[in-house]
Symmetry: D2
Subunit: 367 residues, 4 copies
């Protein structure tokens, strides 16, 4: 099935393997008339780029993005935006040993069972490298969301058992710390934990949190396309995410209705607001005007240097130690991926929302 | 947007409001040649039906399902299966008071902001009554999954802070206990908690767990249509679900790679298996042959009888006490809904999987 | 596959067999806030209803439509509109003889080869009765199109070799003549031809033409979702349609560029117009502001009373004479079906068009 | 809207403008395990390539296709196949004059009205150059169809009023004649007509016919996704196509049922066949095992060198003579595009068909 496409009005299609010549995507349905150049995308790409710190793989990719279509005279034209990123620093020989065996926690076994063939070099299509294309598309969506008054703030909230102190939240730190934590001391503690994990030839997981402000009430479509359902599917489609929550997430399950309900009130300007935001900005699948709050829980990187039990394709046992270059924890590099997927989902929902009311359609065509 | 449709090959479209004349769905793309009658669906409907215990609302609906199309001589024909359930026990007058105000934790405010109009009777389209149709469609999908050797087992794992003891798991109890807990003593404790909540004019949340066995390795489509992404979106589309997890879910985030990876081995029959199943049966978005394990966390029912702060549509404050008939905890009745959504998602993925390999397509057309 | 759904933002899903208990549809994605009741739909249903003249089958169906959801206080709510039409005058026994054999020109053979089972009563799902549901949905779409300033005028342009004289076009006649021809003398000639065909136990084909006015320039999406591609697919999906044309259709193929191009000019109000309309109102898949002109060519009704050569499912030859009640020509009853499919396609394209320009999206969310 | 994607299981997404750096596509959902290299695609590209004869534009493009993903060790892997074709011979300066005015018969005006901006160089996205990508994707689909026993034969059947003589049909001539006519004398006559049109600074239209053999009975999905509806939409999505027919097309409209019905019989091997094939291989939207016959009628190339009346964007009149390099008739180069679109539609339908019967799904999962 065509599983590499995502969205209804705004549709992104990604392609490419970790050790193929390039990765990329096509972003179709993007509105015409927004200024856009590679300079808008590249800084966001750089946030995901490997080789930047001790918290990430040493693979060195410039991740230079090229716009091949959909932009004319520096402005989007409404036609598909094709984005290309050449791969450059593949060390495919690192993977020869893995050709015939299945790495635990990876998709080697399942791809082979599904397709009968797999590109074993760097995980092929199942590699995190695929998210390069998502980030490029997401950067375009986020630029437009910003123009619409929407702000996305995603960051690492936890690595292993090191959790940020929300009382010391400093947004400026997000893209300065290697962990993408908005809290200097949590960053330091997490970096220490990462060094320990590396020393132990082991890896870590963690949690990415996101807060989206400025979404007006009324965005999202009921029933199966609820805004939270779309976001949950989008976030869970990121490799290594094992759980997704909205608002208070699983913690809502252990509270009572009187504790969990967010009371409505009318502020001094007569605008209806909520006293609290346990719901995370979505009620009945539709945005309520409060911040949308999302959490994505990541498993530890499955590639570890210590020996693991596995088998060859023919069933013969193998003691596997994975060398090559790997992230000791994927969470810091995944922050921008969560942000990209949320931006793409949300913008699609905001475009779909334009036709929710007959009066707005009438107004549009009366112009 | 057409948010009430779900699926690619197997597509379900639901319709209907809580206090309208009926609710129903159309299940399209279902394969021809499976025996089907109302008798296959009705017992599953009865598991969701209200009015059955102290754990549920007193609204009394027979939820009798009628097959209007797609079945001929007791067999599915491959054409759309239309299912109809008449509403009978609406007490719409209970909702007159709610016409002009927004119930906290409900979708009243967001529907009104989106559409400019809402059916305030019983929550209209945002009511849990919409899930009646999902359950009917899911029962059909599950019947076929059973024929394919797949078994779905969903149950209540927690209500409030009462969690089942997995060491005392008794599957036979699921549809016998009012809580849908597979553990007699947890059920008793949860019922006591529910009575306390009712006495306090309050409500509870909880967790539904599911275990799907017999899914062969290779089901699911990479990238955006990963099997776990589809399941997560499907479960999050159920009203009141605030978090979804696969396998160990969020607990994977606090472990190391060496703890979390599932080692592969070859069993005595030469079949490749995993020593553990932290992954919950899905690797890289594709089933790995182990049990698929899902968890859905529900917020407490937002309708509570104790006074709450809210506003009228015009912003005038109101102290609201919700009367009418409500579930003190929605979790027991939601078990079968989670099972239905999982069955629909999974069967769709299994049908899509038929064309994954060229050799299978060649074989099909060589017959 | 889920072939019974159609549309992107505005999605219609039909269901039902000719001799099942009912037919119906779900219209999802329809904007909230349009006045709607059964009285808006029923008159359009009556235009398709059988049993009204010598030009149509004697099957007598009241085709009473019931709205089951999506409308509250006489206004659409943005939620799925479920429409139900009970079947009443099935003469299933007429079809016993056909159970085991394949009617030439019908879908009996192909359904059986595809599904291994078929509802042989009245053609089951492949019956023209399925279009009842399309017409009901189309009536709703057309009501809204009218509010947007769009007018649809469809009529019979030819039956057999009797073609209307466009110089004598009288729109008022369309729903008064049995043939749906807007030309009194063509109607008389066609009725005579029909009587001859009936006497000869034979049947006729013909052509439905449509003219859609008031569509602003800019509607339709390039490449695969061109407005003409969507309309062509929609019209070709009507049983018995064998050819579809836009504007001058196939006649454009035998002209030169200088003859076929429509010159642009600026009228006295400074509005850009075309001197001619060979293109039929669509250039590059996008409406150009001129009338959209469509033609649909129908084959003769395959059910005829004269003996035909066919086989039983087991291959044994059979001389078949089809009795039962059939339209000697399907064209008059198909006029409203072509109009419905065009309305649904066009409204979907008009809703999609709202997000074509970034400036409009910005304006919407700045309100 | 995302109008540049096409298909359900097999999904092609094209991108690129005539004078941008490249055009290309992503083909997702293609089964794993088919041998594929650029050498399979390039010969088909060459059939569409410009600059090859007096019947085509002088623009000289090598149209070299590069596979960027989805193929490993010479075999498809089931992941998206990304195809890239660099543009090389743009003469963008030819279009400076056209920047501010609308070419009659082109999409300049409609794109500007829709998007507020357009890439005026060579028609931008609306250029026939977009079909380069369709042809590349179609070549892959057709290779697999051939492996499934399906043969596609498309050719020019008419240019202007020169029609091939089907009695002299010589398939070997198709890719040898400049007109793509399978009839030497019709080719000669058409070339003469083309020379006359060029001399008169004018252009011609024509008709492409296709015959698809070897499709088993049972392919296609009823109602809106009928095989003929999908094919008609696909063909009508090719720029310049104004009419599409299946089987006898519009000629069916002037015959009687007894003339038009195809009688069934059982051949010496007990296989059920039809005596005639007026239906063109499709009944009720499902293939009947006979050849599928398609006709696509093309308007004359709108770019002509003789003066035409038009306006600037500001409404000021302009006498326009289009210079630059244009096809005097687009039909010969469109043959392979019709074949590509038909191959993509048909293969998608054949993949969808795998799940039509429950017994086949059971068999698949019992393996």
């Amino acid at each position: 099935m065509a599983g590499s496409s995502f969205g209804t009005i705004l549709k992104v299609t990604t392609w490419g393997e970790s050790h193929g010549p390039a990765v990329g995507c096509v972003l179709d349905g993007f509105p015409a008339g927004m200024k856009l150049s590679e300079e808008d995308i590249q800084p966001v790409m750089d946030r995901r780029r490997p080789g930047q710190s001790a918290a990430a793989t040493a693979r060195n990719e410039s991740d230079t993005v090229e716009i091949l279509s959909g932009v004319f005279d520096g402005v989007t034209t409404g036609t598909p935006i094709s984005l290309l990123v050449r791969n450059s620093d593949q060390h495919s020989e690192d993977y020869r040993e893995l050709k015939d065996c299945y790495r635990p926690g990876h998709a080697d076994y399942t791809y082979e069972r599904k397709y009968g063939i797999r590109d074993y070099r760097g995980g092929g299509r199942s590699s995190g490298r695929e998210t390069t294309a998502r980030v490029a598309a997401g950067a375009i969506a986020e630029k437009f969301l910003n123009e619409l008054g929407v702000d996305l703030c995603f960051y690492t909230a936890a690595i292993g058992d090191v959790v940020i102190d929300r009382g010391h939240f400093d947004r400026d730190l997000i893209w300065k710390t290697a962990t993408r934590m908005p809290d200097r001391s949590a960053d330091a503690a997490a970096m220490e934990l990462i060094e320990q994990a590396k020393a132990a030839k082991d890896s870590l997981g963690g949690m990415v949190e996101g807060r989206i402000s400025g979404v007006p009430a009324g965005v999202g479509d009921p029933v199966f396309h609820k805004l939270d359902a779309m976001l949950a599917g989008a976030l869970m489609s990121i490799g290594a995410v094992k759980s997704v929550g909205v608002g208070d997430g699983m913690f809502a399950a252990v509270r009572t209705g009187s504790q969990n309900n967010d009371a409505f009130y009318s502020d001094e300007d007569g605008i209806i607001r909520k006293r609290t935001n346990h719901a995370g900005g979505i009620l009945g699948g539709i945005s309520d005007g409060s911040d949308i709050v999302l959490s994505s829980y990541f498993k530890p990187t499955p590639s570890i240097a210590q020996p693991q039990e596995t088998v060859h394709g023919n069933g013969v046992p193998k003691a596997l130690s994975i060398h090559g270059r790997h992230d000791p924890v994927i969470v810091p590099r995944a922050v921008v991926v969560c942000e990209a997927m949320s931006a793409l989902s949300l913008l699609d929902a905001m475009l779909l929302n334009l036709s929710a009311r007959a009066e707005n359609v009438r107004k549009f065509y009366a112009c």
